[in-house]
Each structure stands twice: as structure tokens, then as C-alpha cells.
């Protein structure tokens, strides 16, 4: 518990009363002689957007990979809902409820919106049609996809039968985010969701992140874009040289402060 108190003291946020849904303790990851993570701890609380920022090589990607099962930390512990978890591959993290949206818009362009939302977890028809003929429940999945998009505030993307390749970059990202947020996931990790998008499309994705928070789904947002981070994040985890330099809030610090901490020009 000392870590939590230390973290809160560093961040200046009064969060002692809440229990984190995802917590990482003293994660260490080395690549040969390069230390990627040097004892990093992180807490994610229910219903918050936690941004992770840092310069290139600061360890934010490694940190996220350890949390989502893409890398296995050498040392340290990860707890999900208070229980220790050991992810060996990304599928393990997904099965446990941690969904990741990757930078490169991981959607299948030729499939329609509903098919993409249910890709890899299609639902079958009831009765013999499903069990013997393995028919998927197209109607049901389309309806659920519609409901899910509406619940996420993407209600204007009404036609779930449109192939994803006909959507704009922002809408594709919305489909990817919706897929991550649907189906009762506990944590959504977004890796540079606005990096490939224009101004208007970025705004759409930021709105979507706020909608996720309103639904109580905690989000970890990795981003280089300070204005975006400061617009949506509740707390900001700053990585520097493989360590957590600070955890701040948009209220307690300015963008200039955050950049200063990131680059080592200032201390938190």
C-alpha cells in the first residue's frame, strides 16, 4: 500500500478510497543490457482515463505491452480486480477483459461494421441451424452491434452493414474502439488512437473516449499529442528513462509542466 500512497502523493490526486481495477507493481523488463522498464508501477481506477506519455524510448510501449500480454515482465506483479494475473500472450489479456486498440487500425476492411465488431467471437443461430449447420446469427449480431454503437454514442453510424473500407479513418477507429469496449471488457487500452487521423476525426475519437468514461469503462490512453491528453485524461502517467517520473492531473499541472517532466527539465 505504500506504493499507492506514494503515487498519490506524487500525483496530488486524492484517490485513496478507490481500489484500482488494474494495478502494476514494480515492473522490470530488460532487453539484453537495455533496461526498458525499471520498476514501474501504475494504477488504473474504475471509470477514469489514464494517459501514459513519455518520450521515445521512455518505456511507455514496453509498459503497455506488459499490461496487454504482448511482453512478459522480468519482475513485478500485475493485478486485475485485485487478483494477480500472468499474461503470456495478448489473447490471455483479452480473455481476462483487457482489450487493446492498436495504432494501425486493426479492422478488416472488406467486412461490414457488424462483422468486424463480432470478428473472432461470432454468435451462432439457435437450434439445428446453429449447432449442425454452424450458421451465424447475422440478424442478432447486427442488432447487437447497433445497440452497442448507440450505447457508445456512435448512434449516427446507423448502417452496420456498410463495409469498413467505405468509412473514414475516424469511423474505422470508432469501430475498433467499439469492438474493444463492447462485450463487457474491463479495461480498454488505446495505443496512439489519433496518430493517423485528421483534426476532425481526432475529435470524434476523443468524444468516444469520453463516452467510454461515462459508461464507466476505464481507459489507458497512450499518446504523443499533449492537447489530446489534456482534453480527455483524468490523470497522466509520465514515463521517463524507463521509470515513472510522475503521475499528474490536467488540473495540477500545465502542458508545459508535463513536457518539462517528460524531458527531464523539471521534477514533479
Amino acid at each position: 500500500m505504500t506504493d499507492t500512497i506514494a503515487a498519490d502523493a506524487a500525483g496530488g490526486a486524492s484517490t485513496e478510497t478507490r481500489t484500482p481495477i488494474l494495478r502494476a507493481r514494480r515492473l522490470v523488463k530488460t532487453f539484453g543490457r537495455v533496461v526498458g522498464l525499471d520498476g514501474v508501477s501504475l494504477d488504473l481506477y474504475p471509470g477514469e482515463v489514464l494517459a501514459v506519455i513519455g518520450d521515445n524510448g521512455a518505456g511507455k510501449s514496453t509498459l503497455i505491452k506488459c499490461l496487454t500480454g504482448a511482453e512478459i515482465p522480468d519482475e513485478g506483479e500485475i493485478f486485475l480486480d485485485g487478483k494477480p494475473v500472468h499474461f503470456k500472450r495478448p489473447q490471455d489479456a483479452r480473455a481476462a477483459g483487457i482489450e487493446t486498440v492498436y495504432q494501425n487500425l486493426a479492422v478488416s476492411p472488406a467486412l461490414d461494421v457488424a462483422a468486424n465488431l463480432f470478428l473472432g467471437r461470432e454468435e451462432r443461430r439457435k437450434g439445428l441451424l446453429g449447432s449442425v449447420f454452424r450458421m451465424v446469427d447475422q440478424k442478432g449480431m447486427r442488432q447487437k452491434a447497433k445497440d452497442e454503437l448507440q450505447a457508445l454514442g456512435i448512434s449516427t453510424l446507423q448502417d452496420v452493414t456498410v463495409a469498413v473500407e467505405n468509412l473514414s479513418g475516424g469511423q474505422r477507429q470508432a469501430v475498433a474502439v467499439a469492438r474493444a469496449a463492447a462485450f463487457g471488457s474491463k479495461v480498454v487500452v488505446l495505443d496512439e488512437p489519433t496518430a493517423a487521423l485528421g483534426v476532425r476525426e481526432s475529435n470524434q475519437v476523443l468524444e468516444l473516449i469520453k463516452n467510454l468514461r461515462e459508461r464507466g469503462i476505464p481507459v489507458i490512453l497512450i499518446s504523443h499529442n499533449m492537447p489530446h491528453v489534456f482534453e480527455v485524461a483524468d490523470r497522466i502517467h509520465i514515463q521517463r528513462l524507463g521509470k515513472r517520473a510522475a503521475t499528474i492531473t490536467p488540473e495540477s499541472h500545465s502542458m508545459t509542466d508535463a513536457v518539462a517532466i517528460m524531458t527531464g527539465a523539471a521534477r514533479a
Binding site: N104, A106, V107, G120, D159, E207, L208, N211
Partner: protein
Amino acid sequence: MSQHTTEPPTSALDLAEEFLDRTTPLSRIRNTLHRYPAISPAIVLVVSVIVFGLLNDRFLNPANLSLITQQVAVVGTLAIAQTLIILTAGIDLSVGAVMVLSSMVIAQTTVQAGLPAVVGLFLGLLVGLGAGALNGFLVTRLKLPPFIVTLGTLNIFVALTLLYSGGATVRGGEMPALLTWTGSTFDIAGVNFTVGVVMMLLLYVAIAFILAKTAWGRHVYAVGDDKESARLAGIRVNRVLMSVYLAAGAILAIGAWIQIGRANAASPNAGFDLNLDSITAVVIGGTSLFGGRGTVWGTLLGALIVGVFRNGLSLAGLDVLWQTFAVGVLIIVAVSVDQWIRKVRK
């Protein structure tokens, strides 16, 4: 920027229609073709049937139409297997060779070794599955490009066929009736159909259903569309690829049976050229060589188009070389149309 103040925040995620360029009639046609890739081969087939029907009275004769379906049966069956593999962004140069090897095994084990016909067919199926497993293994485990894998196995299967058969043809008359059953005909409304043609059509129905209505079918499209995205969505890409090559192998074994009935013989020298014919049918049928887009119905139309062109041109009295010439033109036109359609994806 003023629109931001007037619109509620959620409407920022706008209707998809806004991003579809529907500005000109031409782009509207393109969008429709993009959504239903089987439309263009269907139009080509209807137009070519009408044109050849006008050119020659005998073309629309039931006997002639029956002949076209019989000529299409074998390549049409191989093209189903080819479609599955091309949908995964692969290509199979060995389909003809696998079919011939399987047909020789079916014929030799029943005629020379005297095994029951059912056992011979079963062994033929095993050959198809084994060939599919080898191709699939090399593609998924050794990560070799399907083109190279099947170029290699094409030669291997051709050599195995000749070594195994000693270059000898097995006549249909020597075989049990079950093996040549696929060549037997029956009458529907004055048109002769062979059992092989019906088998081919049933295979089309089955595979079309599986591709469109099952999770596996969607995964085949997703893998061909973008392998990495499919993997990140939790699809076991290698397992899907392996199952596609196995399914293709099984279909090729059925093709072998149809071929025996059609030729009333099993010949080690027949059908190696069907590799390219099957790819032709798939491509003309609107399935993209880049994977993830197309249907088996398009492939059936493609196979019929090739059959109609060859038959129609020969009835018109043109040299067989001009038939080949026309098929070549068809391929290039089909791929050009595909490229143009794909420009929708910006």
C-alpha cells in the same frame, strides 16, 4: 468551424454515406460493383450468351448448352478450391496436378490393386487431403509464399503422378461403375445433365453457404483481407489457412472423381493445364487476387464465361487459338475492372 457549435457532439461521427463518393453516375456504378462483385461477370455471361446465340442457331440448342456445362464441370470444381485459397490472398498452382494424382490413385487402386471402388475413392480423398496438408504446412509453418509453395508442389505432384502410374492411362471400361458414375447423364426438361455437373453445383451451394453464413467463412475473408488485423481480432490465422488448404484438397479429390467420369478414363497427362484455367475462372468471376473479396458464385460465372466463349467461338468457326486469345483478353479486362473497382477504397 462554426458547425461544431451547432451540432451535438455525437453527430461528429457521421453517416457513412458522407464518405462514399456518390457524386457521379460512374462512381455510383463502381460502388455497386464493389459491393456486389458478382454483378460484372453475370452481365458478361448474359451478354455473351445472347451474342453467341445470335451468331449461331445451334448455340442455344439444349444439347449444346448441356455440352458447355459438362466441359465446365471439372475446371469449375477445381475453381472452387482455387477460390478458397485466393480469398486468403494465396494462389494454388498445384490444383490440376493434385486432381490428376488423386484420379490416378483412385483408378489404379481399384483396377490394378482390385480394391472396392469406395475404398479407391477414399484413398483419392486422402491424396487430396495429404496434398492440401503439405501445401498448408509449407505456407503456415515455413511461412513460404503460396505461389512458391505450390509451384514446388506442382512439380512434385506431376512427377509423383507419372512415377506412380508409369504414364499409363486407365480406361473407364475397366473401372467399377461407381467411378464413372459421375459421367452418366440424366434428363431435366430436355437438357442432359451429368452427375458430375450436379456434384459441382452442389459443391458451389455448400461452399457458398459456408463462406457466407458461418464464422469460419468470415474468418477466411478476414484472413485474406488483412492477416494482422485478423490475428489481433483473436482469429487463429494459421489454423484458418490450414483448414482452407485441407478443404481445397478434399474438393480436388471430388474433382478427380468428376474428371474420371467426364473423360471416361484416368489419364496421367490430362488436366495439368487446369491450374491456370481455374485461376482464370476465379479472376474473371471478380474475386480479387489480393484476397478478402469475392464469392464462389462469381467463380461459377467465370467458369461458365470461359466455357461459353470457347464453345461459342468454336461454333462460329474460329480457330482454337483464337479461343485462347479471347480468354487472355477476358483475364486482362477482368483484372482491370477489379483494379478500377478497388479504387473505392481510398
